[in-house]
Amino acid sequence: MYSNSSQFDGNAAFSGGGFMPSQATQATDPSLVTSKNRDAQSLLPLTVKQIYDALQTNDDKANLIVDGVDINNVTLIGRVCNKAERVTDVTFVLDDGTGKIECNKWFHEAADTNEAEAILEGMYARLHGHLKNFQGKRTLNIFHFRPVTDFNEVASHFIDCIHVHLHNSRIRNSVLNQQPGMNSAPITPTMGYQAQVFPPTNHFSDQHVNGQKSAENMILDFLHLPANRSRNEGVHRDHIAQHLQISLEKLMLAMKSLIDEGAVYETIADHYKSIING
């Protein structure tokens, strides 16, 4: 019966929704993936000016970055102008006072057409959409549109933009200043290209506060020069030593520590490359 302790334990551990190791492992991976996706799809309140100023990353996806965060889905508030309705879609320009951006909404079903009819020239609207960046032209692909009825929402939206800007730029700053052990912190996936660039550098500068500018630092700085970054084979150690005017022995000591840290790797014989060279 249930007084049998071994039987009871078995139920609790395996059939009773317990934590079997294999289940736990399986559960971890998908959750990591979802959290990453969630970061990528988060809805950012932005001003048109911020979108205009957004940095473009170099990869093929042509993602835009604001405050170190990839932007995909955005929410904006502004006045609707130059509306043009067609059978398949509606286009208009949204003017939020900081700038103007072209928007379009494709019709998928009859309800969409009704929604488009609610878009009136000159009205204030709250939009949720996906930011497209094609051939340098940034447009908004709208999936939700709502007329603003309480105009406090206008001020609230811009305060929201300031809040999110502050939040994201603070995270980035804290990443820049953080200790190396925190590199695996959950905020890392949301960080943009630049944020990921600096921690190794800072790490080494922290480590050698009292010494001369550390050899590690100098090596990283040198490897990060655009000319060196673009070399697939990396930079030869003699070349680095010559440029930094340090002995090969000292260079290799520093290089070993960089390699141990995972900040630099050897490509072909005696050529080295920084991990962030991309």
Binding site: K49, G97, G99, N152
Partner: protein, 106 residues
Amino acid sequence: MDTSNPAVFVNAQLIPNFIGKRVRTVVQVNQYSGGVATAKSTDDSQLTIKGLPQVPIMNFIEVIGIAESSNSIDAELWTDFGNTFDTNSFNQLCQLANGEFKGLFL
């Protein structure tokens, strides 16, 4: 995309910095006669707004237009924000948008 002609968030105190430029503000209309409205800004100053149609007295109106002088705006566009509006938040926003976070707006 075009950010060449922004309308800056202003209160009465900030208007002098933008004379001849496009601004946006929210005012509470006190009087209206012959196309000129006298209105109270979010920082409790009197402003003269030209080019408005007849609007409900005491309603909050958003005006986008050219700042003509330190206390008058020539309206191009206007929106009736109704009779309840948090002027304090808007006033704070004006200050933030012209201060620390100018880069997000201008």
